[in-house]
Amino acid sequence: MRRAVSASIAVVGALLLVSLFLNLVPGDPIDVMLGEQASEVDREALRRSVGLDQPWYTQLWTFTRAFVTGELRTSLPPFQKKVLPAIGEALPKTLLLTLASLLISVALAIPLGVAAAARKGTAVDSAAMGVAVAGVALPRFWLGPMLIIVFALWLDWLPVSGAESWRHLVLPSLTLGTALAAFLSRMTRAAMLETLREDFVTTARAKGLHPRVVLWKHAFRNALLPILTVLGLEFGGLLGGAIVTEKVFAWPGMGTLLLTAIEKRDYNTVRATVLVFTLCYVLVNALTDVAYTLVDPRVRRRS
């Protein structure tokens, strides 16, 4: 309940910030957006379409109503298309990309982290953590082009860009997921080392259970909660990183929509995409909270 309240406060605050930020810009925001040489007609048209000729509370109300009812239109006269259909097309693409990279990073990180913890202090451990440390430092907008050079241009295994088939999804989701995979494998290792020290693991070993059963059924299941926490928290990082990744691979998602809108100075689309991104993020965080209680009954009892 408390969670729901603070989430709604965050959403309302974000709405305020997004719809009124123009009013906080020093000087005339239209100058900033169009440049001072723009014609008076263009300036007036833009001023009207983003609502800057109205007092702030009218702007807030008009924008919110248009956004909620799906009536919001692009702020570029004369062809003012509705914004919602464009978002409806782009959002699933971005969600597909983020989910694919989430899966890739889990698939890479959990075996790596568990192996490193099970063989702590060995070459396996150092190698896995070396890879993890390097993976965190690789900027996505650089890793992406490097993957393109190797796998698309030199080896010719995968397409350079676009979103026509699953093969188009491989390089973008690798690019987006690598940093999370690296971070997650360190977290997995740390969480596993923690649970491997627990008494119930010693007991399970003493009972003569197979080491693999102890590792996965006893230790890993109990290490899941911190791993899940990290996943939920980092999903927002993925949404943000998707903007950069989409630009590298010309992936037609929310990031591309946002960047094109910025380039065209289509301010209403910018506001709407930023808001939808934020809603997704808040929703995922709320879902993560729910997921805790499903994974760990102890949390349920405490709250």
Partner: protein
């Protein structure tokens, strides 16, 4: 000044005076990278073989070789020159973004924790709102409205970056303000401002410093990302992110244009991450490395 709280001064925890030692190879590597970056930023203009504005059409997209050690980019700009000058932009933007966020965040967070009540509610709700934006999105939004410039990047990164320090400082103040030395200072008649700035914040400085060290590579990466998107530095300014952006158009014919600035960036981020680990270990000996 010091006659006001001799007891408090004695009981106060000597956080700032604790020895600082780098204990790991990673720490030394990180320190090396940091020193190298600062030197490059200071000496870059004298070290670089060309001017960043120099155009040499005959050398356009030339591969690395004697004339251009790291090759040439669009219009024959020298990649090495842009990488060296880019270090300066990265460092300056990240430095100011981190300092402004830390000062604003620590002050607001400490005030929220110390005063409680409405101030606390207000500050923490604003923090909640800013944290509702995923990753770099808010910085993109702000720079998209304000336009590309170094000052706007610093503003955008500070606007989004102070929340972490605020939460941390608030938490620290909430636990520290019940300590005996704070009560002693209060009993001796110290005012709120003095308690806050002379006793609470200095003792909360360790975690804040750790946070700042980790935020630094984050800010470097954020500036580069914004510049890659065309929202960071103004067009033509040498920046690692902008150079990678230029290079992505010539991946097949001239992969070096994107390769080298990205390597510099990755190395820098890696080094500062190691340095962050080392600073944390040095300031917090209680934490056992697993």
């Amino acid at each position: 000044m010091s006659e006001a709280s001799p007891v408090a001064a004695v009981v106060s925890e000597p956080v700032a005076r604790r020895g600082f030692r780098l204990r790991t190879l990673g720490g030394w590597f990180g320190l090396g990278v940091a020193v190298l970056l600062v030197l490059t930023a200071l000496l870059g203009p004298w070290l670089s073989p060309y001017s960043p504005e120099a155009i040499e059409l005959s050398a356009e997209l030339a591969p690395p070789g004697p004339g251009h050690l790291l090759g040439a980019g669009e219009n024959g700009i020298d990649v090495l020159t842009h990488v060296l000058h880019g270090a300066r932009v990265s460092l300056v933007v990240a430095f100011f973004a981190v300092v402004v966020s830390a000062l604003v965040g620590a002050t607001l967070g400490a005030l929220a924790g110390y005063l409680g009540g409405l101030v606390d509610e207000g500050v923490m709700r604003v923090v909640d709102v800013l944290l509702a934006f995923p990753g770099i999105l808010l910085a993109i939004f702000i720079t998209s409205v304000l336009g590309p410039s170094l000052a706007n990047v610093v503003f955008a990164l500070s606007f989004t970056g102070w929340t972490g320090y605020a939460r941390l400082a608030r938490g620290q103040v909430l636990t520290l303000r019940e300590r005996e030395y704070v009560q002693a200072a209060r009993a001796l008649g110290s005012g709120s401002a003095r308690i806050l700035f002379r006793h609470l914040l200095p003792n909360a400085a360790g975690p804040l410093l750790i946070q700042a060290t980790f935020a630094f590579p984050g800010a470097i990466l954020a500036e580069a990302s914004l510049s890659f998107l065309g929202l960071g530095v103004p067009p033509g300014t040498p920046s690692w992110g902008a150079l990678v952006d230029q290079g992505t158009q010539y991946l097949l014919v001239a992969p070096h244009v994107a390769l080298f600035p990205g390597l510099a960036l990755a190395l820098t981020v890696l080094g500062f991450n190691f340095l962050g680990d080392a600073v944390r270990d040095a300031l917090d000996p209680k934490r056992v490395e697993r």
